[in-house]
């Protein structure tokens, strides 16, 4: 079965190099990647996750707005009835915040310098479980 991943850029930050490079890497790892582009509201991200029935959601945030955005996405995921889809977050996230995000229900936080291979592996491992 193909792994389906949603890669989204929430918030207003326009630095999409990381999101796109990760999307390319996941595609090259044989996954089907749904890319939604810039400026996605938490609502449209959760709607996309629901309609596309993805296995994993990846969010890329570099503007510092990660706490607010993630808590909203988590809440909406719950409300929508999708259930516990693993959510990965990449970007400039201070260690303390990363800890808090994990506690709140974000599956994993990838900081700058994370290898593409390890992201793909982590996703495969998570989905197979």
């Amino acid at each position: 079965m193909k792994i389906k991943v949603l890669v989204a850029k929430p918030g207003l930050d326009g630095h999409d190099r990381g999101a796109k490079v990760v999307a390319m890497a996941l595609r090259d790892a044989g996954m089907e990647v749904i890319y939604t582009g810039l400026r996605q509201s938490p609502e449209s991200i959760v709607k996309a996750a629901l309609q596309e029935d993805v296995d994993v959601v990846g969010l890329s945030i570099l503007s510092g707005a990660h706490m607010k955005i993630c808590s909203k996405v988590l809440q909406l995921m719950k409300d929508s009835g999708i259930g516990n889809k693993p959510i990965f977050v990449g970007g400039i996230i201070p260690a303390e915040d990363a800890e808090e995000l994990r506690r709140a229900g974000i599956f994993e936080v990838f900081g700058p310098g994370t290898s593409l291979k390890s992201i793909a592996e982590k996703i495969e491992e998570t989905v197979k479980k």
């Binding site: 079965m1 390319m24 089907e32 990647v33 709607k47």
Partner: protein, 288 residues
């Protein structure tokens, strides 16, 4: 945005679609349990960069005002890794923001005709789930994507200036499949020319098919196009062409499903595959 309270249970539809995409036998079982319903499939095809997605986005929003609407957008799978990049939601901001419209991206998964292996069952499930208008956007890889003709009740062929979309140089096959021709990007230079040339060619070939000019970014011409689609569908109903189309779609769906089931479960039997492929390629030929 109104959220998570659409009339049709999207979560259920979405989950079932995943089953359909991966297990054809199970797909048939699920679909057979649901009551049959009437629905229209509107195919949107054309070259890459012609503006298919943004046009589909506009049309879907317009039809959602009257009918429950779904969109299926197909993108190519990589032949090397099997992975795919599905980016159609980017250009479908309006439809994806509308709580009632169901948008699903699909990878072609090795299918060459511009569709995906499970598209027939996908469309059937959406129809039986209550979607009355189903837009299917093909890969648009430029090759002749004639399979859409077998699937859709009506095919919109999108052209745009500056893409080498000269109808004279287009493969005969692609001209054959259009029920409506759209010259998109009407603000670009070369649009007038493309419009009149398309009309001339259609006239020469003795076809009285509508050609509509649109600007899918600004929205010009979309209403006219939407009305034309409605009129043609109505005409199809009256002339009985529609039931003929549906009969064929069912035929194709059955064959395609048989082919998929064989592929999924009896992949090693090459001869069987050959036979099914032959049937798929040759069925319906006589009608052209």
């Amino acid at each position: 945005m109104r959220f998570m309270e659409p009339k049709i249970d999207q979560l259920r539809v979405s989950k079932v679609l995943s089953i359909i995409e991966n297990d054809t036998e199970e797909a048939r079982r699920i679909i057979d349990e649901l009551p049959q319903r009437d629905y229209f499939v509107i195919g949107v095809t054309g070259s890459p960069g012609a503006g298919k997605s943004s046009l589909t986005d506009r049309l879907a929003c317009m039809s959602a005002d009257e009918k429950s609407t779904a969109v299926v957008a197909i993108d190519p799978s990589s032949p090397f890794t099997g992975g795919a990049f599905l980016g159609d939601r980017i250009r479908m901001r309006r439809a994806t923001d509308d709580p009632e419209i169901f948008v699903r991206s699909m990878a072609s998964r090795g299918n060459v005709g511009g569709l995906s292996p499970s598209i027939y069952n996908t469309v059937e499930l959406l129809g039986r789930s209550g979607y009355e208008r189903i837009y299917v956007e093909t890969v648009g890889a430029g090759q002749s994507e004639t399979d859409i003709v077998n699937l859709a009740d009506i095919v919109i062929l999108v052209l745009a200036p500056g893409l080498g979309d000269d109808v004279q140089t287009m493969k005969a096959g692609i001209m054959e499949i259009g029920d409506i021709f759209v010259v998109n990007k009407s603000d670009l230079p070369g649009s007038d020319q493309l419009f009149s040339r398309t009309r001339a060619i259609l006239e020469l070939s003795g076809k009285q098919l509508p050609v509509v000019r649109t600007n899918s970014i600004k929205g010009n011409g979309i209403e006219e196009l939407h009305k034309k689609i409605g009129a043609i569908l109505e005409d199809h109903v009256d002339s009985g062409r529609l039931s003929e189309k549906r009969r064929k779609r069912n035929l194709y769906n059955n064959l395609n499903s048989a082919y998929q089931i064989i592929k999924e479960h009896y992949a090693e039997n090459a001869k069987l595959e050959e036979l099914i492929k032959y049937l798929l390629e040759n069925i319906g030929r006589e009608s052209k």
